[in-house]
């Protein structure tokens, strides 16, 4: 469904992505894990059109996304829930959600909005409870749910989630991660960026590990959970054996 081939993205003269190749098949949950600064968010922004790749190819359903505007990419079916939520804090929960469908025509909205809202409220019941309250009054976890809900309002086929657990207490992060697999049943494909490698690998089918702008590991989630370097660097195992001779 989504294919990136040797993508190079720059911030000015600084090369943030060095030959990133990855793919996401329809119906999969694929995780992109790695430390801060690895280039994960840059990768999502390159897909969603906020950044343009200097070299390489980005294809969604066989058609190139490179150079297209973010709105066109949303219309094509790709929606992003950005890092740090980026909600309209003075607007109500419901208004934030409705804005997620901004790009639809009036007629499309009339037709699909109630259904989509019902879907989002079904996944995140607390948002329905708080529908009229300003987004600023929500807890961190509820704000994250709102950000994801808003992305879902665009009725995407590919959902890009950027660090959904960032800044959340473990229990709330758990709730978010428990909800993501449910998206599959709605016909969604998910590309999930996460610093919390364990949580991401537990719900993903496959994953890519990024370090300083390059992919350094790929495989099924199970393989990566078993991989010692992933365990050491990202899953917190094995610090006693830091020095070892062969």
């Amino acid at each position: 469904m989504l294919v990136l081939t040797s993508v190079d993205t720059y911030y000015g003269n600084v090369q943030a992505l060095k030959g990133i190749s990855l793919h996401v098949n329809e119906g999969e949950i694929v995780a992109l894990i790695g430390a801060n600064g690895a280039g994960k968010t840059t990768t999502l922004h390159t897909i969603s059109g906020l950044l343009s790749p200097r070299r390489g190819a980005v294809a969604f359903r066989g058609k190139s996304l490179a150079g297209r505007s973010p709105e066109a990419i949303v219309r094509a079916g790709v929606s992003q829930a950005p890092e740090n939520r980026q909600l309209f804090t003075s607007l109500s929960v419901r208004d934030n959600l409705v804005l997620g469908a901004y790009h639809l025509s009036r007629r499309e909205k009339r037709r699909s909005l109630p259904g989509t809202l019902a879907l989002v409220y079904g996944l995140f019941p607390i948002l329905e409870e708080r529908a009229r309250t300003p987004a600023a009054t929500l807890s961190g976890g509820e704000q994250q749910m709102l950000a994801i809900g808003r992305a879902l309002m665009a009725r995407p086929t590919l959902l890009l989630l950027d660090e959904p657990s960032l800044g959340l207490a473990p229990r709330l992060a758990r709730t978010i991660f428990d909800t993501i697999p449910k998206f599959r049943k709605q016909g969604l494909t998910v590309l999930l960026v996460e610093q919390n490698a364990r949580a991401a690998l537990e719900i993903a089918d496959r994953a890519y590990v990024m370090e300083t702008g390059r992919v350094v590991m790929e495989g099924s989630a199970q393989e990566l959970l078993n991989q010692h370097e992933v365990q050491r660097a990202y899953l917190g195992r094995g610090y006693r054996h830091v020095l070892d001779g062969k």
């Binding site: 294919v3 081939t5 040797s6 060095k18 030959g19 190749s21 990855l22 793919h23 070299r55 390489g56 890519y208 370090e211 390059r214 992919v215 350094v216 590991m217 790929e218 495989g219 393989e223 078993n226 991989q227 010692h228 370097e229 054996h241 070892d244 062969k246």
Partner: protein
């Protein structure tokens, strides 16, 4: 006929190539950061990971040779700490130091899956009782097939490479339905059955999955007839993994499907190292995709073959390699020209009436190298020629001209009776070099 992993084995080639590119970039990135041997090599060649933008860029990377593994004895080329290595195999080497292979848990899991694909392509299912007649020990064949067979769920009998009598009594008593071993071993078993008068009907054999030595179509037919089986070829190399690199599909038996999601294969000219045109014969070079303990970049296997991407009627989209026709170290030099027996075989296969069974006699006369090629002809050709000597002479002349054109040197050609050349089991050619005792240039090129 079932396919073990249809998602991969029938993957559209464009998706397969994307997968290969992703994994190639991963291995180059990791080798650059984490494997000193490869970091040094890449720097020597002026390559950085960023240069790998497409599969074609593979040719920018340096080769890895068996000598590199020998020099790294035992563990220098391992990419992971030893405590992550859960299996160690070793391959003896005629030149002295053996090569050592390591496997992590993930490597073992992948190995099992790849061998399962090969066995499944050869007809084996979980209903089968499978007899492993490779020697259990440091070599990779026995354990490789054993694990793959267990993965399929067949009933595995680890007989090892015991005497023919023992193999036969187990085949009979344990109701073996699939035999795994070498072609010559299978033939010996078949011949023993025939000589002892044991009828095929008293056995339950259906499949023979055979490999690790070159064998001919004729030998396959002999084995299939003697044992009452459908026999398939498979290919593996210990350094790259073991068995499981490629296997024939039992339906078509026209080429061995390569597990390309784990092995990126190239065919190169053994002399220059340049890629050859699609479908041409040359040396098989393999880059492992996804091996953790011992990743290999552009490993020169020394095996001569060709690869085709043409779709197979079995439905698999994985490219097929031809049966290995020889090794690069079979090469010999005549009058300064480096020749491979595979070149001679190639010409013979194209000519009616001759078999690709031949012998090369290298000699020295009057200070110059001479080469005589003795070729077996099909039985009956001497008879039909009896009334027509001209026919035999014309065949001989035209064959000699074709060989000289292919090899680039003048040769003496003799057509001989079928089965009159010395029979090395399964071998279609022999090189006899008499020059050593006479001084002058001699011996195979290393």
């Amino acid at each position: 006929m079932p396919i073990w992993n249809p998602r991969v084995e029938t993957m559209p080639r464009v998706d397969l190539e994307q997968l290969q590119l992703e994994r190639l970039q991963v291995i180059v990135n990791r080798a650059w950061d984490g494997i000193p041997f490869y970091r040094r090599r890449f720097e020597e060649y002026g390559v950085i990971p960023e240069h790998l933008r497409s599969l074609e860029d593979l040719r920018l990377l340096p080769f890895t040779e068996k000598e590199d593994l020998r020099r790294g004895y035992p563990y220098d080329l391992f990419a992971v700490p030893l405590r992550e290595v859960v299996r160690i195999h070793s391959s003896p080497s005629t030149a002295g130091t053996p090569t050592v292979m390591g496997y992590t848990k993930n490597d073992l899991r992948n190995w099992r899956e790849l061998v399962a694909r090969v066995l499944c392509a050869g007809g084996v299912t979980k209903e089968d009782v499978i007899q492993i007649s490779f020697s259990y020990g440091l070599l990779t064949d026995a354990f490789g097939f054993h694990q793959g067979a267990e993965e399929i769920g067949a009933s595995v009998i680890p007989v090892s490479a015991g005497a023919v009598e023992e193999q036969i009594s187990i085949l009979h008593d344990f109701r073996t339905s699939a035999l795994v071993g070498t072609p010559s071993h299978a033939r010996r078993i078949g011949e023993a059955l025939r000589d002892k008068g044991i009828p095929r009907s008293s056995l339950h054999l259906k499949w023979a999955v055979l490999g690790t030595e070159p064998w001919t179509e004729e030998m396959r037919q002999e084995i299939e007839s003697l044992l009452g089986v459908s026999a398939t070829d498979n290919y593996g190399i210990a350094e790259v993994m073991g068995p499981g690199v490629a296997g024939e599909c039992e339906e078509q038996k026209r080429g061995l499907h390569l597990n390309e999601d784990h092995f990126l294969c190239e065919i190169v000219d053994p002399g220059t190292g340049e890629p050859v045109p699609a479908g041409a014969t040359g040396e098989l070079v393999i880059t492992t995709l996804g091996k953790e303990a011992l990743p290999l970049v552009r490993y020169r296997t020394g095996d001569i073959t060709s690869v085709t991407q043409e779709r197979c009627a079995c439905g698999r989209t994985l490219a097929r390699m031809a049966q290995v026709v020889g090794r690069t170290d079979d090469a010999f030099v005549v009058s300064g020209v480096r020749l491979l027996p595979a070149q001679i075989e190639g010409v013979l296969r194209e000519v009616d009436g001759v078999k690709p069974h031949f012998e090369v006699i290298l000699d020295r006369e009057g200070g110059a190298d001479t080469i005589e090629v003795r070729v077996e002809v099909a039985s009956g050709i001497f008879d039909s020629a009896g009334g027509e000597v001209g026919y035999l002479v014309r065949t001989q002349n035209s064959l000699r001209q074709r060989l000289e054109a292919a090899l680039g040197v003048a040769i003496n050609l003799r057509l001989v009776e079928p089965r009159s050349l010395g029979e090395a089991p399964g071998m279609s050619q022999r090189i006899v070099d008499r020059r050593r005792t006479k001084g002058g240039e001699s011996g195979p090129v290393l």
